[in-house]
C-alpha cells in the first residue's frame, strides 16, 4: 500500500468509514503483530498490546495529521510506547524465550536455513540493533519513518541500520 492509498483510507476512516479502517487493519496488522511478537517474545502479550495499539489508534484517529509521516509509522510509534509502558510496569520477567518452532507459526512454510541463521545472528545483536532491524524489515518502514518513531534524525537511522547489518555480518562470519 503506498502512502497515497494509505492517506485516503485514513481520511475515510476519520470520516467514520469502518471499511476503510478494516483495510488499514488488514494491511498493517501482520507487520505490527510480527514486530510485537519479536519485541515481547510472547504471543499472548503481543496480541494484547496489538489490540491496545489499535484501540488507541481508533480512539485518537481524529488527531492524526499527515505531516510527512505515514499512518503506519504512527501505529508503530503507539505500539512501541505500549511496549515501554508494559516494561516499565515491571513485566519483563513475563517474557519467555520462544522457540524457533513458535516463530515458524506464520503464514509461510517451515523456516529455511537462512531464516534460522538470521534468527541466531540477531540474538547476538544488542536490543537497539534488533529493534531497528525489526522496524526496517518486519514493519517495512522507511528510514524517515524509523527516525520519527525512534525520535532521531534520518541520517542517524541510516547509520544505525548500517551498523546493525555490519555487526550481523560479522556475527555470521
Amino acid at each position: 500500500m503506498d502512502i497515497r492509498e494509505e492517506l485516503q483510507l485514513v481520511a475515510r476512516a476519520q470520516a467514520g468509514d469502518k471499511e476503510a479502517f478494516a483495510l488499514l487493519w488488514d494491511a498493517l496488522t501482520p507487520k505490527l503483530y510480527g514486530y510485537l511478537v519479536n519485541q515481547l517474545r510472547h504471543k499472548d502479550l503481543a496480541e494484547d498490546i496489538c489490540q491496545e495499539t489499535w484501540l488507541k489508534a481508533a480512539g485518537h484517529l481524529h488527531t492524526f495529521k499527515n505531516k510527512g509521516v505515514r499512518f503506519s509509522a504512527w501505529i508503530f510509534a503507539i505500539a512501541r510506547n505500549e511496549c515501554r509502558q508494559h516494561w516499565r510496569g515491571g513485566n519483563k520477567e513475563v517474557m519467555v524465550d520462544m522457540t524457533t518452532e513458535d516463530f515458524a507459526d506464520s503464514i509461510h512454510s517451515t523456516p529455511s536455513t537462512d531464516y534460522l541463521l538470521v534468527e541466531s545472528t540477531l540474538a547476538k545483536l544488542s536490543a537497539e540493533e534488533k529493534e531497528i532491524i525489526e522496524l526496517r524489515y518486519i514493519a517495512d518502514l522507511s528510514f524517515k519513518e524509523i527516525a520519527s518513531i525512534l525520535e532521531i534524525s534520518m541520517v542517524a537511522a541510516r547509520v544505525r541500520i548500517h551498523r546493525a547489518l555490519s555487526h550481523a555480518r560479522m556475527a555470521i562470519k
Binding site: G16, P30, G34, Q51, L55, G68, P111
Partner: protein
C-alpha cells in the same frame, strides 16, 4: 555457514516470514471496528501535501523559468536598442551616394562636381566630360589623380594606418506616453535649446513624429534630456554612426587633383607666353631688318635710270617680305591670343573645381558635425503601462488561478459529511 545472497535480501525475506496475524484476528478486528466513531462536526482532512508541494514546486519552477527568460529578453532588447552601430564605409558606395545626394540637394556649386564624382566612382574610370576638361599635355597628372581617387573609393580598403574618424551620427528614438502633444512640444523646445533645427513635425492625437538636426557636440546633453522625459520602460533609442573617412579621402584627393590641374595650366600659360615673346621678337627682328633695307634703298640717290629701276624692284620685293613678316607677326599674335584664351578658360575651370572640392570638404566636415535624428511618439494605454511594469504578469495570473484551484480543492476536502451519531 554463510547466508545465501546479500544480507539485506536475506533480512527482507526474514522480515516477510515474521509478518503474521494474531490467532483471534477476526474477533480483534470486530472489537476495534466497534470503537470507530463518526466524529460530530468537521473533521480535519489530511491534505495531500505531496500534491500541494508538487504543484507549488511546479509553479515556482515555471515562475523562475519565465522570469529568467523575460529578464534575458529585456536585457537583449536593451543592448540592441542602445547599441551604437558603426558601419564600415570602406566599400564606400552607399555612403558616397548619400553624401553626394545631400550635397546636390543643398544646391551648392558642388552639385555638378558631385555628380561627376559619383559617375567616376561608378565607372571606375574618368568620364568623357572630365577627360575633355582635362585634355591637355599638362593635365595628365590630374587625370591620374582622379583615376587614383576612383580606385581608392570603389572596392579598395582604406589603409589601416589611417585611423582618422569622421563619424556621422544618426539618432532615432521611440517614446511611449499618454501625453503625445505635450511631449512633442517639449521635444521641439529641447531641439531648439541645443542649437538644433526641427525639419518635420507631425502630431496627431495618439502619435507624433519629429525629425531634426542638432550639433554633434550637443548630442550627449540632448540624449540625457530626452531620456528624462519619460520612464526608461517607455523609452528606446538607437544611435548609428558612419565613418565618412572614404568620403574625406575622396575630397582630399579631389582638392589635390584640382591644385595639380591649376598649377599645370598656369605653367602652360607661362610657357606659351614665353614662347610667344620669343617668336614675336624673332619675327620683328626680321621685319625690322627688312625695313632697314627698305630705308637704306630709299635713301640711295642715283641718276641712273637703270639703277633707279633696280631700286624700285628691290624696294617692292622688300616691302613684300616685310608684309609677309608682318603677317606672320599678326598670325603669331592671333594664335597666342587664342591659346591664351583657352588656357585662361582652363585655369578658371580648374580653379572653380578646386573651389568646389574645398567647399565639398567643408560640407563634409559640417555633415560630420551634424546629427540627424527622428523621434517617434506613441500613445500608451493603461494596460500597456501595467504590462511594462509587470512584464510577466501572465505568470501571476497563472499563480492566482493555481492558488484558487488549490484552495477550492482544499476546502472541498475539508467539508465534513455530518453523520449523526447512531448512538
Amino acid at each position: 555457514m554463510l547466508l545465501k545472497g546479500p544480507l539485506d535480501k536475506q533480512f527482507k525475506n526474514w522480515g516477510k516470514h515474521k509478518q503474521t496475524l494474531p490467532t483471534a484476528s477476526a474477533e480483534m478486528k470486530e472489537r476495534i471496528l466497534q470503537h470507530i466513531k463518526t466524529p460530530v462536526g468537521s473533521v480535519a482532512v489530511v491534505k495531500p501535501y505531496r500534491l500541494v508541494w508538487g504543484t507549488l514546486s511546479g509553479v515556482l519552477a515555471v515562475l523562475v523559468l519565465f522570469v529568467g527568460a523575460n529578464l534575458l529578453k529585456q536585457k537583449n532588447l536593451a543592448t540592441t536598442n542602445q547599441q551604437n552601430m558603426y558601419l564600415d564605409c570602406a566599400g564606400g558606395e552607399i555612403c558616397s551616394s548619400d553624401f553626394a545626394v545631400e550635397n546636390y540637394e543643398a544646391g551648392s556649386a558642388a552639385a555638378p562636381m558631385a555628380a561627376t564624382s559619383v559617375s567616376l566612382k561608378a565607372d571606375a574610370e574618368v568620364s568623357p566630360s572630365a577627360k575633355l576638361a582635362l585634355q591637355d599635355v599638362g593635365a595628365d597628372r590630374a587625370i591620374n589623380a582622379m583615376g587614383t581617387t576612383a580606385n581608392m573609393v570603389e572596392g579598395t580598403e582604406i589603409s589601416v594606418s589611417d585611423t582618422r574618424e569622421f563619424l556621422k551620427y544618426t539618432y532615432q528614438a521611440n517614446i511611449k506616453t499618454r501625453k503625445v502633444a505635450e511631449i512633442s512640444n517639449r521635444l521641439q523646445t529641447i531641439v531648439r535649446g541645443y542649437g538644433g533645427r526641427v525639419d518635420i513635425i507631425s502630431v496627431w492625437e495618439k502619435s507624433g513624429y519629429i525629425t531634426f538636426v542638432i550639433p554633434k557636440a550637443s548630442l550627449e546633453g540632448f540624449k540625457n534630456e530626452t531620456k528624462g522625459l519619460v520612464n526608461a520602460r517607455f523609452f528606446t533609442e538607437n544611435i548609428q554612426a558612419q565613418n565618412l573617412l572614404p568620403e574625406k579621402i575622396s575630397k582630399e584627393n579631389s582638392i589635390d587633383a584640382a591644385i595639380v590641374g591649376v598649377d599645370s595650366y598656369v605653367g602652360e600659360l607661362k610657357m606659351l607666353t614665353e614662347q610667344h615673346v620669343q617668336s614675336i621678337a624673332s619675327l620683328e627682328k626680321k621685319r625690322n631688318a627688312v625695313s632697314a633695307n627698305i630705308y637704306k634703298l630709299s635713301r640711295e640717290v642715283s641718276t641712273s635710270s637703270i639703277r633707279q629701276e633696280q631700286i624700285k624692284k628691290e624696294i617692292a620685293g622688300l616691302n613684300n617680305a616685310k608684309a609677309s613678316w608682318q603677317r606672320q607677326i599678326n598670325a603669331e599674335h592671333e594664335q597666342y591670343a587664342a591659346s591664351k584664351s583657352y588656357l585662361d578658360e582652363r585655369i578658371a575651370m580648374a580653379k572653380s573645381q578646386l573651389e568646389s572640392s574645398k567647399q565639398q570638404d567643408v560640407a563634409l566636415q559640417e555633415a560630420v558635425e551634424t546629427v540627424r535624428g527622428s523621434i517617434q511618439i506613441s500613445w500608451v494605454s493603461r494596460v500597456d503601462i501595467f504590462k511594462a511594469y509587470v512584464p510577466f504578469y501572465w505568470i501571476l495570473v497563472v499563480l492566482v488561478v493555481c492558488s484558487v484551484v488549490l484552495l477550492i480543492n482544499y476546502f472541498s476536502r475539508r467539508r465534513a459529511i455530518n453523520i449523526e451519531s447512531k448512538n
